[in-house]
Amino acid sequence: MSATDVSAFDTVRDHRVPLGILRDTVALARRGLIAYRRVPQLLVFSTIQPVIFVVMFRYVFGGAVAGSLPPGVDYVDYLMPGIFVQTAVFGAIAAAIGLASDMKSGLMERFHALPMSRAAVLTGRTTADLCRNAFVVVLMMVVGFLVGWRIHTNVWGLIAGGLLVLFFGYAMSWIFATLGLAVGDPETAQAAAFPVLAPLVFASSAFVPVETMPSWLQWFAEHQPVTANASAVRALTFGGPTAEWVIKALAWDIGIFIVFAIISVRLFKKAV
């Protein structure tokens, strides 16, 4: 087509149809995954940190926590579901840093000027993180087996637990996508992420039973998404009141996903 043959430009494919959104999402998710392959440090840091947590909680704090667990419950069986959930939450920061970097580098501006799906910038980013999370969660399950974690339910419980962790991680990616777009600078995004993460992850049932916390903190710990998801994965792999926790966890995850997808898409339209 010649540079002045104007009508030809509208006959090429449309990004507004569902298939077009998918194509743009895949292109951008691929970009995110290539980064993990080219910069192995990214993946190494996101796997070493949870391994350190496993070793630390299993062998350092494990003995102390064991006393607060019901008789017959091995701490490693309590701990590993918490580790999976914590890993998914920490991994979600990548969405904040990635989008903020794109804003700073000018790539976001390029995307805005392309005839592409607006949402794909966000779905591409979060899809890349979902793939990375799948890899890390499987790896952490292997690490878990190595330090003595055992499934007390069945293989379906394990699969359902794994999927729930991934869905939770995906929902959290949208919270951090919103944060990244709001601050627009990767260093600030990273600094701002920790105050969001720390209370969610540590004031939860991820590592210790909430009954051991002071009552004011217990109330928060009992009513937040990390506890709901960690307890659901625990029920799926260990046993216990499964349906109740899984429904609570799904309610949180779906709610977070919808609310933050809406907010982040709105922010994206204004973010340059």
Partner: protein
């Protein structure tokens, strides 16, 4: 339709900063139009609005007859944009960057692969094409960035200060590339802080200041107002400079400007005015401390148009 870009009374403000204060422009098909102005003049904002990145607060802008707000998608299918920063992914290779832009420009797969190879060759990146961009030099990144803006063969191209930070060789190469594109029928809107760049490339220049177009003319006419040669002198003190200014009154200078002990004389009569300046100073017995002859700069344009110098560091956040 002879105009590729039409802008009428375009307005945009960021909180308390007015970035565009009623801009009118018309860019003819197949030409280079230069937006010349200092940092914070509103050049980048104008490009962002035209490239559908920012919505304007008021006024109207059309690219190839399509409104940048109502018909943003049609505009996006017809434009390429290269901003001030190399907007490429450092972790992807040069080829992968171009191919990603191809997919996002909704081009068919086969065309993307061919086009990426073609652009890598054209921008002398064939050898580096399969290396991650973070191993590229600044000049290579900038070339790739401009390559990325050309993936969809856009008939209208926006270049925002394309040569800022480039060495002389890369700059000249880029200028040649822009000339080639225009020879092929592309319309280019280019922003720059350098009068020389606008003069070299553009067939029309709009000088912007404080979100307003303060001059819009051909380079020849603009320079005729300025004089093509500037003689810059420094004297021992303000009195000597004043004395010299008096001595030089009535020469063929287009403009004479004294600021403290500095005096500058601009003329479109080149070397001849220099000879006359020297002769008159000698006759009056005044000796300048320094004397330099140079091409007019954007600062001279500003001085001629507004009576004031470009404010250094007047970088409005919204620039």
């Amino acid at each position: 339709m002879t105009n590729a870009i039409v802008v009428e009374d375009l307005r945009k403000r960021f909180d308390d900063v007015v970035a565009l204060d009623g801009v009118d422009l018309e860019v003819e098909h197949g030409t280079v139009f230069g937006l010349l102005g200092p940092n914070g003049a509103g050049k980048t904002t104008a490009v962002r609005v035209l490239a559908t990145v920012l919505p304007p607060d008021g006024g109207r802008a059309e690219v190839l007859g399509h409104d940048v707000v109502r018909d943003a998608d049609r505009v996006r299918r017809r434009i390429g944009m290269a901003g001030q920063f190399a907007a490429v992914d450092p972790n992807l290779t040069g080829r992968e960057n171009l191919e990603m832009v191809g997919v996002l420009s909704q081009l068919p797969r086969a065309a993307i692969v061919a086009r990426a190879g073609e652009l890598l060759e054209r921008f002398q990146l064939s050898e580096a094409g399969d290396r991650p961009v973070r191993t590229y030099s600044g000049g290579m990144r900038r070339r790739l960035d401009i390559g990325a803006s050309l993936v969809a063969t856009p008939p209208v191209l926006f270049l925002d200060e394309p040569t800022t930070g480039l060495d002389l060789t890369s700059r000249n190469e880029l200028w040649d590339m822009i000339r080639e594109l225009v020879a092929d029928g592309t319309t280019v809107l280019l922003t720059t802080q350098y009068l020389e760049e606008a003069d070299q490339l553009a067939s029309r220049i709009a000088v912007v200041d404080g979100g307003k177009v303060i001059a819009n003319d051909t380079p020849t006419n603009l320079k005729a107002q300025l004089g093509s040669t500037v003689v810059e002198m420094t004297f021992a003190d303000g009195a000597a400079a004043e004395h010299a200014a008096t001595a030089l009154a009535g020469t063929e200078a287009t403009a004479t400007d004294r600021e403290g002990s500095d005096l500058r004389v601009s003329s479109d009569r080149g070397a001849k005015v220099l000879v006359e300046v020297l002769r008159r100073l000698d006759a009056a017995g005044i000796e300048p401390v320094t004397l330099a002859v140079r091409e007019p700069s954007m600062d001279d344009v500003f001085l001629a148009l507004t009576g004031r110098h470009v404010e250094l560091g007047a970088e409005a956040g919204a620039a």
